[in-house]
C-alpha cells in the first residue's frame, strides 16, 4: 500500500468541540470554508450543524422520516431519500464534498454508492465501522457469535448493517474502482485517531472505524 497516511488536523480542536462527535470534528476538519457539501445519511443533522458554524454550505439526505423532520426543524436543508436509489438524481460535480458517515455498511450496493459519491462530489469523505477491529475478531473467533460492540449493539437479526467490511476490504475496493485515497485515518473505540504511520495491519486490527478522504484517480493505479 502506498497511500499517504496523514492526520488531517494539526491544530487543537476549537472551543465548543466537546459538543460534537469526534468523527464529525475529523470530517469537518477535512473541509474548507465556503465549500458545498452533501451529507448522505445525515441523521439528526449534527454534522450539518457543525459545518454551518464553519461557514460551509451543507445539504443532507436522510432515510428516516423522523431524522428529516428533526433536521428541517433545525433549519437545515435536508430531503428524505435513500443513498441506494436517490443519489442517481444528483448531477455530476454538484458538490465539493459528499460525506457518507457510518452509512456505507447499511447500503445495498456500497460499490455503486461509492461511485456515485465521487461522481456528485469532487471529493468524498467516507467513514465506516471496521469489522476487522480486534474486538470483532475475538468475538467471532472465541465466542463463535456475530460480534456486537458498544457502537454496534444491534443483533444480527435486527441490524440495518448488511454490508460490513474491514479497512483492508475498503482499501481494496477503492483500488478496484480507481479511487484515490488522499487521507486515511483510523479511530479507536473513543473516536481518537490512532497513531500516525502505523502499518495497515495495525489500523485494520486496532481501528474501530476508518475515515477516508477520497478523490477520483486520473488513471488506473496499476496495482
Amino acid at each position: 500500500m502506498s497511500v499517504e497516511q496523514t492526520l488531517p488536523f494539526a491544530s487543537p480542536a476549537p472551543r465548543g468541540a466537546e459538543l460534537y462527535r469526534g468523527d464529525h470534528l475529523l470530517v469537518a476538519g477535512m473541509i474548507e470554508r465556503g465549500s458545498k457539501v452533501l451529507d448522505v445519511g445525515c441523521g439528526d443533522g449534527d454534522l450539518l450543524q457543525l459545518l454551518e458554524t464553519r461557514g460551509i454550505d451543507g445539504r443532507g439526505i436522510e432515510l428516516s422520516r423522523e431524522g428529516v423532520n428533526r433536521c428541517v426543524g433545525k433549519g437545515l436543508a435536508v430531503v428524505q431519500g435513500d443513498a441506494d436509489t436517490d443519489l442517481i438524481n444528483y448531477p455530476d460535480d454538484s458538490f465539493d464534498y459528499v460525506v457518507l458517515s457510518q452509512t456505507l455498511q447499511a447500503t445495498r450496493q456500497p460499490r455503486v454508492v461509492l461511485e456515485n459519491l465521487l461522481r456528485i462530489g469532487r471529493r468524498a469523505i467516507v467513514s465506516f465501522p471496521n469489522f476487522g477491529f480486534w474486538k470483532m475478531r475475538l468475538q467471532l473467533l472465541v465466542g463463535g457469535h456475530m460480534p456486537r460492540t458498544e457502537n454496534l449493539p444491534a443483533t444480527w437479526y435486527d441490524t440495518p448493517n448488511i454490508h460490513f467490511c474491514t479497512i483492508k476490504d475498503f482499501v481494496q475496493l477503492c483500488d478496484e474502482i480507481n479511487v484515490k485515497m488522499e487521507r486515511a485515518v483510523a479511530l479507536d473505540l473513543y473516536g481518537r485517531p490512532l497513531r500516525l504511520n502505523a502499518p495497515w495491519w495495525f489500523w485494520n486490527m486496532f481501528g474501530e472505524q476508518g475515515v477516508f478522504l477520497l478523490s477520483r484517480a486520473d488513471r488506473p493505479s496499476g496495482r
Binding site: K36, V68, V72, G73, A77, N89, P91
Partner: protein
C-alpha cells in the same frame, strides 16, 4: 357520525353572485393603464383582485407572506367565510401563535384570477357589456394568476415576499412564483403539489367539467341570464373530486360500510350508506358557494400547468441558481399529488443547486391532509418558517 342528508341553501342565488363583484374583502382595482397580459395573448383590463390581509407589515416590508389558495379555496384563510359562515380554511396554519403567525408576519391572501369570490373571473361583470363574463372570460393559466398576484404585491408596496405558501393548486402557484420571480421570494413552502398536472388529474378534472356541462341548467354557460344554476352537475363534479382528496383508508375509517340512519338496505337508490350521504352533502354544500363556470376555468388552469414545458422541458432550468429557500411536503396517502411528484420537484431543485428541504408526512388523510390538523406537517412548517425568519433577520424570530 355524519347525519346531514342534504341541506337547503342558506344562500340566495343573488348573494352568490354578489361576492363576485362586491366581495366582503379588500379589493385592488387595476385600471386601463395596468392591463394584465394573459398567456392566451389577451390583455385583461380593467380587472380586480380581492384579498384579505392579517397582521402588520413591518417597517422594512420584509415580513410579508403570500398564502395561495387551492382550487375551491379563497382569500378567507383565517376569518369566517362571508357566505357560509364557516371558519377560515387554513386556521390550522394561519393565526396568532400558529406556524404562519399573524403576530409576527403580514399575511396576504388573494382570491385567484378566475375565482368567484371577488377577483375578476367568469362570475364577474364584464364592464364592456355590463353582463357577467361567463364563457366570454378568457381562459387563464396558473402563471396568469401569479402575475395578477405580483401586481397586487406591487400595489401593497412589497418588493420581496418573506414567504409564499400554498397547498395543491396553491402549491402550484407557489412554485410558479419561485420560477417567475425568484428574486422576489425569500422562501417558499409548497405542500401536496407538483410543477405539472398529471394525466390522471387532467382526467378527473375533465370528468368534473363534463358533469357541469352535461347539466341542462348550465345553458351553455349562461345560466345566470336564464335564472338557472347547474347545481346537479357541479355537485357531481364536487363529489368526484372529493373522493380524490381522501384516501381509501380515510373513507374506511370515517364511514366503513355503515348505514345512514337505517339498519337495512332500502333496495332503492337512496343514500343507504353513510359515505353516500357524506358525498351528497359535500356536493350540495359546495354549489352554494361556488360558481360553476369558475370551476371550469380553474380546473383548466391547473390542467395547463407545466413549469418544465416553459423551460425547454427541463424542470431544473426553471430553478437554476435561485436563492429561494424551499420546503416541500407530501403526504403518504395522497394519490392526487403523490410523493413521487414532490420528489421529482426536489430532484430538479437539487440539480439546480437550490436549498431545499423535503419531508413526507405519514397520514391516512389523503390529499386533504394539508388542510387538516396534522401536527407533524404543522410543526415542520413552523420550524421552516422560524429558521427562514432568523436568516431573514425578522424581529421576534424564535431560536
Amino acid at each position: 357520525m355524519v347525519t346531514i342528508q342534504s341541506v337547503k341553501s342558506p344562500v340566495k342565488p343573488d348573494e352568490r353572485g354578489h361576492e363576485a363583484d362586491h366581495p366582503t374583502s379588500q379589493v385592488a382595482l387595476f385600471g386601463a393603464d395596468q392591463p394584465l397580459r394573459l398567456d392566451c395573448g389577451i390583455d385583461l383590463s380593467p380587472f380586480q383582485i380581492a384579498y384579505q390581509a392579517y397582521g402588520t407589515l413591518n417597517a422594512d416590508r420584509s415580513n410579508a407572506i403570500l398564502v395561495c389558495h387551492a382550487l375551491t379555496g379563497d382569500q378567507h384563510v383565517a376569518n369566517p367565510h362571508p357566505v357560509t359562515g364557516k371558519p377560515g380554511w387554513w386556521q390550522t396554519l394561519v393565526g396568532p401563535g400558529k406556524a404562519l403567525d399573524t403576530d409576527r408576519y403580514f399575511i396576504i391572501s388573494s382570491n385567484v384570477l378566475g375565482g368567484c369570490m371577488g377577483s375578476t373571473g367568469p362570475a364577474s361583470t364584464n364592464p364592456a357589456t355590463g353582463k357577467l363574463w361567463g364563457l366570454d372570460f378568457p381562459v387563464i393559466t396558473i402563471p396568469d394568476m401569479v402575475r395578477a398576484q405580483a401586481m397586487l404585491v406591487d400595489r401593497l408596496g412589497i418588493d420581496t415576499l418573506f414567504c409564499v405558501v400554498g397547498g395543491s393548486m396553491g402549491g402550484m402557484q407557489t412554485l410558479q412564483w419561485t420560477a417567475a420571480y425568484p428574486q422576489r421570494v425569500f422562501s417558499a413552502l409548497a405542500v401536496a403539489c407538483s410543477t405539472r398536472h398529471s394525466a390522471q388529474n387532467i382526467a378527473f378534472h375533465e370528468l368534473g367539467r363534463q358533469a357541469v356541462m352535461a347539466d341542462p341548467d348550465w345553458r351553455g354557460g349562461r345560466y345566470f341570464e336564464e335564472g338557472t344554476h347547474p347545481h346537479r352537475g357541479l355537485g357531481v363534479a364536487r363529489m368526484a373530486a372529493h373522493i380524490t382528496y381522501l384516501s381509501d383508508a380515510a373513507l374506511h375509517r370515517k364511514f366503513g360500510r355503515r348505514m345512514q340512519d337505517r339498519e337495512l338496505p332500502t333496495f332503492s337508490f337512496d343514500a343507504d350508506f353513510q359515505v353516500e350521504s357524506y358525498l351528497r352533502y359535500q356536493g350540495s354544500s359546495f354549489v352554494e358557494r361556488f360558481d360553476a363556470n369558475s370551476y371550469l376555468y380553474l380546473t383548466r388552469a391547473m390542467d395547463y400547468f407545466d413549469i418544465a414545458a416553459d423551460h425547454n422541458g427541463v424542470l431544473a432550468e426553471a430553478f437554476r441558481d435561485t436563492q429561494t429557500r424551499f420546503c416541500l411536503m407530501s403526504f403518504t396517502s395522497d394519490w392526487l399529488f403523490p410523493t413521487s411528484e414532490s420528489r421529482a420537484v426536489v430532484h430538479a431543485l437539487n440539480a439546480g443547486g437550490v436549498r431545499v428541504s423535503f419531508a413526507e408526512i405519514e397520514t391516512d388523510k389523503g390529499h386533504d391532509a394539508f388542510l387538516l390538523d396534522v401536527p407533524e406537517f404543522l410543526d415542520i412548517a413552523r420550524a421552516f418558517l422560524n429558521s427562514a425568519a432568523s436568516v431573514r433577520g425578522l424581529v421576534g424570530a424564535e431560536k
